[in-house]
């Protein structure tokens, strides 16, 4: 069966520090991968979307970036965090094509920038 792993679960980082959140998927190949952010009390904002290795669409460029070095690995990064980067970050995967599936979500990372 397919599983998705996202870590860390919580993170407190100072302003100006770098960020690296990692997400891996098991049990499927060539998934669509997503990064979403949820600010406190708000909806889910799509940050990045990838349909394959090295193929990433950015919805909210700002100071965040994403990379997909392997088929089932998706990394969210920042060189210098801002206070406004605080939020709940969710990684997700889905299948496309003959049977488009729902998106399956990781447990999320609660990032607090101080």
């Amino acid at each position: 069966s397919q599983t998705i792993h996202q870590w860390p679960a919580t993170l407190v980082q100072p302003v100006g520090s770098p960020l690296s959140l990692e997400c891996t998927v098991e049990g499927t190949s060539n998934p669509n991968l997503y990064w979403y952010r949820q600010a406190a009390g708000r909806g889910l904002q799509l940050l990045f979307y990838s349909v394959g290795i090295g193929q990433i669409s950015s919805e909210v460029p700002q100071n965040l970036s994403a990379s997909r070095p392997q088929d089932r690995q998706f990394i969210l990064s920042s060189k210098k965090l801002l206070l406004s980067d605080s939020g709940f970050y969710l990684c997700a995967w889905s299948d496309e094509g003959e049977r488009t599936t729902e998106a399956f979500f990781g447990q999320g990372t609660r990032l607090t920038v101080v």
């Binding site: 997503y34 708000r42 997700a92 488009t100 729902e102 998106a103 447990q107």
Partner: protein, 113 residues
Amino acid sequence: AQKVTQAQTEISVVEKEDVTLDCVYETRDTTYYLFWYKQPPSGELVFLIRRNSFDEQNEISGRYSWNFQKSTSSFNFTITASQVVDSAVYFCALKEAGTALIFGKGTTLSVSS
């Protein structure tokens, strides 16, 4: 461009009341998928239902039911005889073929005893 609107920001009901969460979507595609997710206070997203654009049959699962109407571009969600455990944020989402899944802003449902 695709868009999902959940006009109800917050809803409060008393246990055993029925409640309907509204979802209106916009898309130019003829092939698309609609979803509902539940986000309890713990934060994880729980998948509830998926519906493709070619299947307008309504669905019932226990106390949950969904009404999909292409004529009004709506995909509403009804909880019958609500319970305290139904308290959560509920998201409606839309996916066109070959694009990312996008979400509405969510509706916070509070069920009191």
